[in-house]
Symmetry: none
Subunit: 210 residues, 4 copies
DNA sequence: GATGAATGAGTATTCATTCAT
DNA sequence: AATGAATGAATACTCATTCAT
């Protein structure tokens, strides 16, 4: 081992940049490992020790990067929700008419949900006992409701949806229908097929009188 | 009562009855206390010791009547679900036309849900980490789906609902909409009013083309 | 069911004799069941509840007949030891010469031990942590030592055993050899055959210079 | 020490050593305390909490070093048996003739046993109810038997012991005599003196016809 | 930043024994 | 005598978090 190599392993000799880079790597490894462990065991049975083992990081190092178990989890959820939101935003809101837009929005949502189903399951779990996570949960649904509500109001303005539809209530109910059906399919494992996605869209459209 | 019968009801035979009475009282007290504690603290933070204290019963007596914490909980849930089912069955399925029936069924469901909202919340919680309770959860929803499906099929036969509605998929989606909206309102506390109930029914009816 | 039969089941009507007889039956059933349970589970894992179940007797009735778990056990051990002693005493101390006598005594002891091996195992177990049972244990060995010692002294008086054999020490050592070999064979399950019994006797005789 | 070596021993590399040292101290303190507590109370009444108190260590630290109560105990027993074996092996097998060798081997064994008598007592206890410890127990005796058997065979080859002595049976019986007499003396507390040791050896030698 | 040993609060469950009928 | 419900003491083990190097 040359002196240079040896020195590179010591702290004093590390340049700030290298130090940061190393920390970033550790942090990333912990996040990846944490997601795996949470998905496999759920929040309650996830152990910090296992996260560290998988990340190939010392036990105590976890707390160098995260305040506590809740903090890693929150970060994973935030990232996931941001990704979900990005997918939804990427979906062109205009296009071949409202029905097609609803269809493609639903498909996009369901696809994104399925990709994150295992973490979603844990999100639902934690939201049942953690006030902080319940906040996040409500906020996420709020965003979802808002999008539907905005769309419905537009359609009403365009005369595509009758006025006796109360936009907010309908938005909440239909977002719930879509969102919870995703849970039912991908988390609880209820069988379903592509035709069901179409049905879902048809129910959605008819429900608001389209 | 003949002499023979009367004589046969001596000591040995009578005592069990008395015993049962006392035991039944203890058991009932534990169940009541358990429901309270579960509702206040959730499943995870519910302590057997607190249940016993509230029931005015010695710690060990809990285990005279229930195998463990899961067992009391399961019994409470079973009772609650049986009650819910009874309410749903009590609802007359005939009457002033399908729309009115749907309306009254939804009202009945929401009313019953609200009355049990706090225990429902815990039910949802436990279903996220207990395989046994997930089973119960799926079974309960299954019953709910079945009822909707049966109704939709009847309406199709009567020509009230178009044939392009796939009864099972629609049943699952709409039961989910109603059921999860109840959770959203009564467990998560989202504001709502009586008009929202009407809207819900309207969305339901329109969705299946009624 | 006739009145007479019915009455016979009640306490008030039972004659003292019948009552005693019944109690005796219950007690006997408990003893039999207790032996089974102790033998199957060892003392520590033996449960009063299981003893009562097997005896077909109510839980609380156990304490009508025995002060506690230790008491039943003590009674079983006492009975077993009395039986063992009886076997040993039945063995004719005279006969075809000392060697033959030693041989038949050993055979008798080993046979009796084997028949009680499972309870013996529990006896050894309890003697390691119960002061009272250790007393019994020491007393039982004392009796065994005494018999050997007496025999050795007789043989010395008859000139069959040299005087440099210290009767007590030899008695303790050889009784230990025989007694613990029985444990090794029948409790620990070390393989052995009939030839080994002969060997044991030969070792015994030679050890004391016979 | 060269510069290279010195540099390579920086932080990361040095720390583990220090850690180990502290951990080793804690571990040793726990082992010492555990032995004390087991000896005073027996296995069943030994409490982890008391072990930790005596070791001056936090409760949880016990589990940093041992999987459970059984694990510390097993380690203590293994160490004790290794020590015993070492003593026996240290005993020169050659010397002033077989009788003197037997005498000194017996003396060595009894001395070593006495030093460990209190832990031996607990070993015997645990062997009666723990399958794992019974394994260890049988293995330990097996080693003891083997040594005697080997010696007897040698003596037979040398013409010092008659051929009608079956080496294995005699080894088992005589090892049992010596080993269990040690238990009787040092654990059960039966009175004895130095003359008894000689007697024991004389019985041993005569038994195999020496 | 990394390491990993130390900390200690927290709790369900068992079961011998008692006791009211 | 029999019954069986009521009692409550007793304890090993987990694991998130801290902290000294």
């Amino acid at each position: 081992m040359s002196i240079t190599e040896s020195v590179s392993v010591t702290m004093a000799a590390m340049t700030p940049v290298k130090r940061q880079a190393r920390a970033e790597r550790t942090r990333a490894a912990l996040l990846t490992a944490a997601r795996e462990v949470f998905e496999e065991r759920g929040f309650l049975d996830a152990k910090i020790s296992e996260i560290c083992e998988r990340a190939g990081v010392a036990y105590g190092s976890f707390y160098t990067h995260f305040a506590d178990k809740d903090a890693v989890f929150a970060e994973l959820i935030d990232a996931m929700l941001a990704g979900l939101l990005a997918v939804m935003r990427a979906e062109p809101l205009n296009g071949d008419g409202p029905t097609a837009r609803i269809a493609s929005a639903n498909r996009a949502y369901l696809r994104a949900y399925r990709k994150n189903a295992r973490l979603m399951a844990v999100f639902e779990q934690v939201a049942t006992f953690s006030p902080a996570m319940r906040e996040t949960y409500l906020r996420a649904w709020g965003v979802f409701y808002d999008r539907q509500e905005r769309a419905i109001r537009e359609w009403q303005r365009a005369g595509l949806v009758p006025d006796d539809v109360e936009p907010r209530t309908a938005a909440v109910a239909l977002a719930t229908m879509i969102g919870r059906t995703a849970y039912t399919w991908y988390v609880l494992g209820r069988p379903h097929d592509d035709g069901d996605v179409e049905q879902l869209t048809r129910l959605y459209c008819r429900a608001i009188g389209m």
